[in-house]
Symmetry: C2
Subunit: 683 residues, 2 copies
């Protein structure tokens, strides 16, 4: 597999290119200093492609750190996007532009040279031409047009091109593609990634988008007295996804040169078709569905009539051509904008990277409530109420991989709880499942969901509900732990200032060979409402006393009994009572997607010392209550916490009479929802 290091891969063009790279079968390593980009774009790229993106938060100027990445991976080529890019800003702080862009590139090239990596695609810009109308016959602009940028941003791009030309002249083993972008617009059609400018947008479409979403009052049109069909100036707008594909084409061009042949050559990436400001305006208004306010103001100094690309060279040599239209771009931009009115920013949501090395932890922080999730197992690694931690956890993510870990906070799947004989029979077909507890299978098998890297999250904010939503996705391929079918599973955490809801959604992928599988998901958090060494002084109130019977090995027998103690809805102190029982809340499920059903209260737990209370509501028909009598792990012993594992019936996958709770056919949805509400007792 070819490995591509992408600098600035978290940015607008970078993130779209990373998607195309992964979809084209490249392994991608992203390096970004995140000064002008958000790690969210990487989370979302992973979510979109359902693959892990290797990411390093490194400033290119830190050649020591950068060098370590080159030491670690055998990098075949670099796509170099990283750099500051605001023309206006560059005239105010030119030194920062030279330092970041030129300094960063020098450092990158040094490290590349040290590691004998001599293939690079550089993100240059049509800005290097400056005003091409100052020459005769240079519109559309060909690559041979003399350069002459008119601002520091453009200067940095031209200087970098010059450095690369000098390097190639000194050593013609280098393969260097200088891609001069015209005006990238639009967004990925998923609506999950797009342009997220800081401050007042410099470019037409991002500005229009902010007008449409109400963040800006109106569009200023700088002059309508140009010699175009509607009087506004003409530019070459290219859909960012087309642009991204241009990089794959350039990589392929470089890779297909003859052995020992090098190159350093410029290619324009544009459409070759000009659009006026009003053309764009009308197209975007069409996407939005109504006209947007604008005002004609005076011409802007430096603006000229027409800067359209001549794209013959790229079309012919790179075998690449822009295919998407301005209308496509406007539609995709509007989709991105409505889904992300504030760009990537989600209130109360933060990424903490200090805990677990390369792994990011996703924190939602309200005044009195903190909720933290890791990608592996979509594991809840921390819940804090009024500053008190209320779930069992580890300080290092690596500890979660320990054998003794009793599934702290993890998502459990495909089938939670015990599967007798590690075997299922679905519609006459028998499947052998991974037996990881003697002859039986527990919590999905040895490599269950708890140990898998979930992609994402995609975060959003519901301001009415004051809820932060973190949505992860897992792709579980056919045969994983013996289960049939390619399964997509979405895990959403909907976090409010006092509660969190977990929503599961699974479906067989359209590409799945097997038309059927089984699913029964839960989360395995252990709660402790006080700082006491065990939960014995904790009070419980159960809203059911029906239990699924188990044998001495805790395997289901297929029958249901009523406990005489504790009584339904009667508060009791846990004391020496011990539970590892599957309680039943309803006799069956009315729908495989229980999210449609009304949630039932499962239990109430409180602690008079800490004054904290936890109420659990679920749309699921059952829950396993486990009082942690077997916990024996780092920092935690017996009864350090209790688990409330809402799910389908224990044995649902085994006993035919209950199988409809867990059997998922292609085209159907499995769904479940459970809410954990924390409060103080005196409220």
């Amino acid at each position: 597999m070819t490995t591509i290091l992408v600098t600035g891969g978290a940015g607008y063009i970078g993130s779209h290119t990373v998607i195309e790279l992964i979809n084209s079968g490249f392994r991608v390593i992203v390096v970004d200093n995140l000064v002008n980009a958000s790690y969210d774009s990487i989370s979302r790229v992973e979510y979109i492609v359902k693959k892990k993106v290797i990411f390093y938060e490194i400033d290119l100027r830190d050649s020591e750190k950068l060098s370590k990445v080159f030491d670690k991976y055998k990098i075949d080529a670099v796509i170099h996007f990283a750099g500051l890019k605001a023309v206006g800003e560059s005239t105010k702080i030119p030194l920062e532009y030279f330092d970041n862009n030129v300094g960063g590139t020098i450092s990158l090239l040094k490290v590349m040279k040290q590691h004998d990596v001599k293939n690079i695609v550089f993100s240059s810009s049509a800005t290097v031409y400056g005003d091409a109308t100052r020459f005769k016959d240079m519109i559309p602009i060909p690559e041979k047009c003399p350069t002459g940028p008119t601002n520091p941003y453009g200067h940095t791009k031209l200087v970098i091109e010059g450095i690369m030309r000098d390097i190639y002249a000194s050593d013609n083993k280098w393969r260097i593609a200088l891609l001069r972008y015209f005006n990238p617009i639009g967004a990925h059609q998923s609506g999950l990634i797009g342009e997220d400018p800081t401050g007042i947008p410099n470019n037409l479409l991002p500005f229009l988008a902010q007008v449409a979403i109400g963040r800006r009052q109106k569009l200023n049109v700088f002059g309508n007295d140009y010699d175009s069909h509607d009087g506004t100036p003409i530019r070459d707008y290219i859909h960012v996804v087309d642009l991204a594909k241009g990089h794959i084409a350039a990589l392929s061009y470089l890779a297909n040169l003859k052995p020992k042949e090098g190159i350093c050559r410029e290619w324009n990436l544009g459409t070759g078709k000009g659009s006026t400001v009003f053309d764009i305006y009308h197209s975007f208004c069409k996407a939005v569905g109504h006209d947007l306010p604008y005002e004609i103001v005076g011409r802007r100094s430096g603006d000229v009539l027409n800067l359209t690309a001549c794209v013959t060279r790229a079309n012919e040599e790179l075998k690449w051509k822009a295919k998407l239209t301005v209308d496509d771009a406007c539609r995709d931009l509007w989709n991105w904008t409505t889904k992300n009115p504030q760009g990537f920013a989600t209130p109360h949501y933060h990424i903490a990277d200090h805990l677990y090395g390369e792994q990011r932890i996703h924190d939602v922080i309200f005044e009195n409530f903190k909720f933290s999730v890791a990608n592996v197992g979509a594991t809840i690694v921390d819940v804090e109420v009024n500053g008190h931690p209320v779930v069992c956890n580890f300080q290092r993510l690596s500890d979660y991989a320990a054998k003794e870990n009793p599934y702290f906070g993890a998502t459990i799947g495909r089938v939670a709880n015990r599967l007798p004989g590690a075997k299922i029979v679905i519609e006459g077909h028998t499947y052998d499942i991974d037996a990881n507890e003697g002859k039986n299978s527990l919590h999905g098998g040895s490599h269950g969901f708890n140990s898998k890297y979930f992609f994402g999250p995609v975060t959003s904010y519901d301001s009415k509900a004051e809820a932060v939503i973190l949505k992860f996705v897992d792709f579980d391929s056919d045969g994983s732990n013996g289960y049939p079918g390619d399964l997509n599973t979405y895990v959403s955490y909907i976090v409010t200032p006092h509660s969190y809801k977990i929503e599961y959604e699974s479906s067989l992928d359209s590409s799945s060979k097997s038309p059927v599988t089984v699913v029964n998901l839960t989360n395995h958090s252990y709660f402790h409402l006080s700082d006491e060494s065990n939960i014995n002084e904790t009070d419980f109130k159960l809203y059911t006393n029906k239990c699924i019977d188990t044998d001495t090995s805790l395997l289901p027998t297929g029958t249901i009994s009523k406990l005489t103690q504790p009584k339904v809805m009667e508060k009791f102190r846990l004391g020496s009572n011990a539970f590892d029982n599957c309680f039943v809340l309803s006799d069956d499920v009315e729908s495989l997607d229980t999210r449609k059903l009304k949630a039932k209260k499962a239990l109430e737990v409180s602690n008079s010392k800490s004054n904290l209370q936890l109420k659990v509501y679920t749309t699921e028909p059952a829950f396993q209550l486990y009082t942690g009598d077997e916990i024996a792990v780092k920092n935690y012993g017996k009864r350090s916490g209790f688990a409330v594992e809402t799910s389908r019936f224990l044995g649902a996958a085994t006993f035919e009479k209950w199988q409809r709770q867990v059997i998922l056919h292609k085209g159907d949805l499995y769904g479940a929802s459970t809410t954990y509400v924390f409060s103080s007792l005196d409220h």
Copy 2:
């Protein structure tokens, strides 16, 4: 006083500019990474100007270190020379050129901006024009000539100019002078600093110089079919001292702008007069005194007929004009070359900077002999024979400033030993000298030569004698410690594989108001020939038994007596014998400059345990033998070593009958010479 930070101040143009700056009254701080320059040039600049140059070995790209220099000093302006400069090399390693030159400049400008230092004179180059003959009417080349460098070196200069223009555009408080040098040649007329190219010289004159000195066989003349008077191409050669003065003119121009006025402007620095290759050749042959071998070879690609500067702008605006001729430059280059055939390099000589922080220690290292000197006091800080240290010293230079230091290794002056009543009468005029020992003055007074920073050294190598010569200079102004007259003192150490000779030379400066002073110099090293805790088991043999009488305060009485013990030339073990006596070797001096006289053996000392022997020879008439009975200082106690202080008579400055030994008139030379020879006893 205006403080100028000079980057690359140890280089060819930099060092000449530092001299002009200091001579113009500026305070200079030099920053240089020394990758392409020698600290010797700084030593020599100090020697030439007799002022200290603040020096930091810093790579500009280390902005943290650089920033500390800006924190420490209030810098008014920067002259920025630092950078790689070999055109040919730049085509081979362009990245290093961009990294050093552009990266270094960006870092420098960042630090300047952070410290609100916005005045800079930049060392650009006529190379930025490239082939100016490609345009009509651009010879002589005016500043408005379009740029177009043809090699990475030139690219870096142009990029830096561009960065500076962008910075000025962003903040017009900056004052930026871009000086485009034509072809600097020549050397300082002292012959102490000049161009010292590494490898094969790229430029005509340094190459010719190496032909003249025998390091190269012949000069290649690249084409004699150009349209010039002799067929060789025409360039604009400027004497480096003229060029250096151009920087002072530029600084002054910037300083004289109206308040709040900024600028970023280019000035050519050249003569405006073209010389052909043969013109230069003939001029240099004239300086050498005979013709040098050359060969006409084919034209070099990229060479053009004429690249002469138009210097009107610099002449008019900077009020600066080159004054020296090509003949002057050739004479100065030849002077520099003959004095320094290998450039700054001196065999066996090294600078150690790890011991004493900012202070450099000058080491001469032979196989079995090491000799180390510091600038303060021109102090001998270490002598090692066969790996054994044989002088008392401190590990930190700061310890030498301690009160208890019994003058370890230091140069003693103006008048060594005790001056009764701290008073001298010279030709009827009484001078009060600093009394630093009760009512008397000892070893020159409180701020004697031992505590002064000696400038230099200028090092050289006498291959016949296998001797490394380190020459320091001190300027002692009128009234220093009460002594009259501005005194120049040269201290030379001539180090061979087994010995060192100290030579003193003093004379009144031509500017001295007082026509007369007194001088009596010595060195105060303490020797111990073995590792024993004291010198009691050491054997002495004295070549005189005459002593100058002293009273109980060790003050001279003006008479001479013979000791009965020890006997002349009779070896004795020191044992409990104690000396602090001025022994007499001859009745008087025949010349104030005793260097002309034959050296006499003063004493022989040996140690049977270490097998080491020291013999001291001197042209001086006396020596103080002190057996260290009062030593009480860090690591050293009573009798840790003995001093042999060769000098004029104790009391020579006091007693009229002996005064001719020490009285120095303007125009005369005081001189003295003492040799310390080490050997193994069995030799």
